[in-house]
């Protein structure tokens, strides 16, 4: 027996190897995506979120709710969507345009005590950039509702 495979077979073998690898990669990706994708919630929906899982929370920062803690680097504030109010705790440097009454998307997870522990804040940082979820919020009547409740 010759160790080199017949030409016709070799092409087939290469094709099969490539197809198996690609299918494997795709299946792996789909399984991992279902596990690892971080879901986006509004404050009124966040009750459904699993504690400790990486998620994103979006809404409006309530007027008068930002409180800096003793350590000078942790802030507590409340994000609302007109229906529910969600307390958030964030340790770090907040983006400059993170102000009361503006939109924010916070990345983090829910703690057992019902506080959202944010690891990162994405605020609208210039005229053109806005997290996609918030861009939608704006077009929604939600925003008008929020402003009505907040004033």
């Amino acid at each position: 027996m010759n160790t080199t495979i017949k030409p016709k077979h070799q092409r087939l073998v290469l094709l099969v190897v490539a197809v198996i690898a690609m299918i494997g990669a795709t299946l792996l990706a789909i399984v991992a995506l279902r596990d690892q994708a971080s879901y986006f919630y509004l404050p009124s929906e966040i009750g459904a979120a699993e504690t400790g899982r990486d998620i994103r929370l979006g809404g409006m920062v309530e007027h008068g709710s930002i409180v800096t803690q003793e350590d000078g680097i942790t802030i507590h504030f409340i994000v609302g969507d007109g229906e529910a109010r969600q307390p958030v705790s964030f340790t770090g440097i907040a983006p400059a345009l993170f102000v009361e009454g503006s939109g924010v998307v916070a990345e983090g997870s829910m703690a057992a005590d019902g506080t959202f522990m944010a690891s990162n804040l994405l605020a609208k940082h210039d005229e053109n950039y806005m997290p996609r979820e918030l861009a939608e919020l704006d077009t929604d009547e939600v925003r008008a509702q929020i402003e009505a409740t907040l004033q």
């Binding site: 795709t26 991992a32 986006f40 053109n128 950039y129």
Partner: protein
Amino acid sequence: MIAEFGLVALWLAAALAGLQLLAGFLAARDGGSATAEGLALLVRPAAVVQALLCIASFLTLIYLFAVTDLSVKLVATSSHSDKPMIFKIAGAWGQHEGSMLLWVTVMAASGGLIALIERRLPERTMLATLAAQAFVGLGFYAFLLFSSNPFERLNPAPAEGAGLNPLLQDIGLAFHPPTLYFGYVGLSVAFSFVVGALLTRQVTPEFARVMRPWVLGAWIFLTIGITAGSYWAYYELGWGGWWFWDPVENASLMPWLAATALLHSASVLAARDALRAWTVMLGVVAFSMSMVGTFLVRSGILTSVHAFAVDPERGSFILALLTLYIGGALVLFALRANTVAEGERFSIMSREGALVINNVALSAILGIVLLGTLYPLLTEAFDVRVSVGPPYFNPVGAIFFLPMLAVLAVGPLLRWRKDSFARIKLPVAIVGAVFVAVLVLVLALADIGILPLLGLALSVAVAIASFQPMMGRSLRRLPLAVWGMVIAHFGVAVALFGMASDTAFQQERLVAANVGDVVEVGSWEARLDAVTPVSGPNWTAIEARMKLSYDGGAEREARPQARSFWSPPQETSEVALLTRWNGQLYVAIGNQAQDGRWQLRLWWKPFVTFIWYGGLLIALGGVLALIGRVATDVRRRVAAGKIAQRKAEEAS
């Protein structure tokens, strides 16, 4: 008048592209007939003149920006007379319209260049290639002229321009998008060669040799673009990270992965006449990925820290072009793939075998990145909003990336066609021993995650393995292309070492400090001396003055700033970086707390700089290989010229 000149030049260039497409296609189809011969004569000049017209048009736009001609809409909306000159000029391609004009110009220039100098392929294949190049070009001309006209006038002209996004007013970023575009365009040239070769059934080693410099060039630009983009995000966004798996970053990574695979398979085709259909397929995929990349960036369809413009109409236009090109190429591939004859065979234990594994792994990683990038779009259709980040990309990508590195360590040692493991036992054993030794050492000394652990051990092993192909060979006679391979592979190891080291060992301090306070991070001591307001040409800032010393050594100064720009109004964080041979200290200043303390964020990042040194080494390897290939070609041409001359002399 100047703006109109640019527009007219662009229209003429588009018309010439139309001519090039028709003449090239007809001449390639009916090769031999008298009309076809006549048409064929038009194709190369059309490509060259088209290139000159596009360059003239682009220079016109640069001139308009340099003099801040506010009667041109584009200048008025994205420039400002107060801006430093370099940013005025860079502003010409700092927004959508200008960057698309740059794209078209580079594409036309590449087409002109191959029309001028490329004579190695059969003329029919060249005609088909240039026709394909014109076909791709026409789509972009239509896009520019109908939906993104950079020369549109504004009446009346405003008194002052609106300014350029301050995040983009950075010298690195001014040259970042063009670098990526050069890469994308290089892949479009490779794509044209693929289409030409498929249409005329000329998938030969010569085709691979002609295409290779373009793939190599594109790959070098993409490598530099990704490296620079990563560094930009690192120091400009102020979050201390160097890769966010952001859609825009993925948009540059995906063509790079495809180009890397194509580069390796084209080498197999050029050297061994194997992997023909596979190389052609990768050529289509690589260009598709650069179109997908452009689509993702330009349409703003995905949320991104880099997304600066959202425009559904343009998105649809690019999507239509993407469907047309990719769909057309795939149909052509399906029709012609069975006419691409089987190439030379090889044993799995051979250089080709290793390169097949490299190709399959790269394709798998490409698929994983593509799925992760598009997944939020898919779920959006079901009204579920998700984002996908490092917890997905890192482990899933690593499943294919780490084994691929193991093959990278062994592959270059193997011979073409057929080899035996016994022959390379010793070098493989050395690399394996190094891998295990580093693994055990790190496990004993530090408690770090599995991925950084494997990354550290593999990076050291690959660094050693990358030089093994040079063993026992005369360094002076080693071809430049081999030097290129060695340096590029070493660069991969260096970059991986930086990534693993930063992930495993970085230390972070986040504090609120009074002036005079001392903050410690790693072996650093940082003292906050003062916080003062400062100003620049179009910004004001709060600046922290700090004195820092490493391990009790000499004091160094750092001045991180929080800047506010006024046209357009925006805030940015200018971090201070202190570089040592063994890493970088990263300092950012934040807001002031109510009690007057200042927020400071400090990171000590061991060997983080190796990430970008590695990227530059990879690009350098590409440059050496490119010079080597081109020099060989030039020598061959000179020799062929001499032989032709001698024959002519003998005949006379």
